[in-house]
């Protein structure tokens, strides 16, 4: 009995050393493999923001030039971090955007708002470094001075300033929010034309 115990004791030690050696060969093989880690943020060859995929949902941004003031994003937001004021101008009968705030501290980057946007005005950027010292500074206020809401033109956009922004927006919703919303947009454009 005691002899068996001693034999088992030494066998255990032998097994432990053998299996640890086996594991160590795997560990040591990593000396000759390519390292997988990068030294963020100082020594990255390319900015991380530029390597992220197109669908990456980073901090939200709004292109006010093409915002229609439809409030679809405000309604879609599950946590109400988007606040828009869009009253009607009494004289010109045009919709004015007087406030477009997004509370980045509250935002949970779900992407529901950019999905419903008909022009791709509100969209996610690949920016993710948003740390700051106070909660107030996390509120992004996009309206500096009241602007007139964008209206879709049936003959297509010709303004040299707005056209490239609209093109970017359309490309964004085509690639980001397809397939549900292109149909809706086309239907809207049709009804606007008619």
């Amino acid at each position: 009995m005691a002899k068996n115990d001693i034999a088992r004791y030494f066998k255990n030690i032998k097994d432990a050393v053998a299996t640890i050696f086996e594991g160590m060969t795997v560990t040591c093989s990593h000396f000759v493999r390519k390292p997988y880690t990068i030294q963020y943020p100082d020594r990255v060859p390319v900015r991380i923001q530029d390597t992220l995929p197109f669908r990456y949902r980073g901090i939200l941004e709004v292109d006010l030039e093409i915002c229609t003031g439809c409030l679809a994003c405000e309604r879609a937001c599950p946590i109400d971090c988007i606040v828009i004021d869009a009253p009607k101008d009494q004289k010109t009968k045009e919709m004015l955007l007087t406030r477009f705030d997004i509370d980045i501290a509250k935002c949970m980057y779900c992407g529901l708002c950019s999905e419903v946007c008909p022009t791709g005005s509100i969209h996610h950027t690949t920016e993710f470094e948003g740390a700051d010292f106070s909660l107030e500074s996390m509120i992004r206020r996009f309206v500096k001075a009241p602007v007139v809401a964008y209206k879709a033109k049936k003959e297509g956009e010709t303004d040299p300033v707005v056209a490239p922004i609209l093109e970017r927006g359309m490309r964004y919703i085509q690639e980001f929010a397809e397939p549900a919303d292109m149909k809706k947009l086309k239907a809207e454009q049709k009804s606007a034309a008619a």
Binding site: A16, F54, C110, G111, F176, E178
Partner: protein, 384 residues
């Protein structure tokens, strides 16, 4: 003398006073995987009981669903089980489709299954990695996380987020696979398959590791059924039950995969090592499923047409999905309005917590760490 509501008996033996010690493990203990607390009554180093105290991470997710509506609740389901959020997404999507009679396009189902199985591999990688780390080996944890990082990159490319995916919608998925995605995933799987063997070499049969897990925390088949264990924990006890196989949902009935069960290869059936091994085997099965899906994928739309203000007819629906931590139940009651009347989520981690008290009796305190890690408890899933 009473502490935290539990009577502590004072024993007198030959003039020397000994007493049971009440220890608080957690809520901020690195090995409890989140904010969990165990009230341990120990006699020396042997535990009499370890009573889990839960509720530190309760965020009223079920109640939130009654305020944000059917579509708006989808991002919140990511937070139910943040380690494998895809299956939670699918659960909520499926229960809403059941109650509102929505048919998911076939390609959408394939996208869902691919995303879910990738998520399952990532979740199991974290489970086995964290388990090894809790036992005391640090290197395998980094190996597991490195592979998990690659899956995170894949999912980021697919849906734009690394953890809180919000990929699925009621009626399908939000985005189709990006161009060249099948090739990327296949390349990943090709290099991942041999790495499972490497992981086995690295740690699985390491003598020290096996000694820590073999015949520790044994849960017999009957106990597992009585305590309602689900998923890998149940299968490790030798009971072959998987929602994907026994109550196939989505397209799982068309796919071929095995359901690995515990074998008791180094100790008793249903011990910690079996639970570890079942997860390792399941990763391989998930790889198989993803490969099949990529081959079988039909063209077509991925999202059905669903009203933006979804108003399902009044009634209730219950569905089950196989999450990474087992059978996940989703129940929703509709009263015909655009907000659910009541939502109930049933999760696997909660069931696993109930058996900890029973299994931990007579174990060493250090074994409690191995036990919790082997159950793969994720604290937010316990509380919701």
């Amino acid at each position: 003398m009473s502490l935290a509501g539990y009577e502590v008996e004072v024993q007198r033996d030959g003039g020397l006073t000994t007493e049971e010690m009440t220890l608080n493990m957690g809520p901020q203990h690195p090995s409890t995987h989140g904010v969990l607390r165990f009230i341990v009554k120990a006699d020396g180093e042997v535990m009499r009981t370890a009573i889990p105290d839960i509720g530190y991470l309760h965020r009223s997710i079920e109640k939130i669903s009654e305020k944000v509506g059917y579509h708006g609740f989808m991002p919140y389901t990511d937070r139910v089980d943040y380690v494998s959020a895809m299956q939670c997404n699918q659960g909520w999507g499926m229960v809403c489709e059941r109650i509102a009679n929505i048919e998911v396009p076939r390609r959408g189902e394939f996208c869902r299954v691919i995303a879910c199985e990738l998520g399952r591999i990532a979740s199991h990688l974290l489970a086995v990695g964290a388990m090894v780390q809790d036992i005391g080996a640090y290197t395998p944890f980094l190996h597991a996380l490195r592979e998990r990082e690659k899956i995170n990159n894949l999912l980021e490319e697919l849906c734009g987020a690394r953890l809180t995916f919000n990929y699925m919608r009621i009626g399908g998925v939000a985005w189709d696979l990006p161009t060249g995605y099948p090739e990327t995933v296949t390349a990943f799987l090709d290099q991942f398959d041999p790495l499972i063997d490497e992981y086995h070499d690295l740690i699985s049969y390491n003598k020290v590791y096996v000694e820590r897990l073999a015949s520790v925390g044994v849960v017999s088949k009957e106990e597992a059924i009585n305590y309602n264990l689900v998923g890998p924990n149940l299968r490790a006890s030798g009971f072959k039950y998987d929602v994907r196989r026994d109550e196939p949902y989505s397209i799982y009935s068309e796919l071929e995969f095995d359901v690995p069960v515990g074998t008791g290869e180094v100790g008793t059936l249903g011990d910690c090592f079996d639970r570890y091994m079942v997860r390792m085997k399941e990763m391989r099965e998930s790889c198989k499923i993803v490969r099949q899906c990529l081959n079988m994928m039909p063209p077509g739309p991925v999202l059905a047409k669903v009203a933006r203000k979804l108003k399902p007819p009044s009634g209730d629906a219950y569905i089950r999905v196989e999450g990474s931590r087992g059978d996940m139940g989703w129940y929703v009651v509709s009263d015909g309005s655009e907000f659910p009347y009541r939502t109930k989520i049933r999760t696997g981690s909660f069931a696993a917590m109930s058996i900890v008290d029973k299994v931990s009796r007579g174990l060493m305190i250090a074994d409690l760490i191995a036990l919790i890690a082997s159950f793969d408890v994720v604290a937010p899933e316990v509380d919701r």
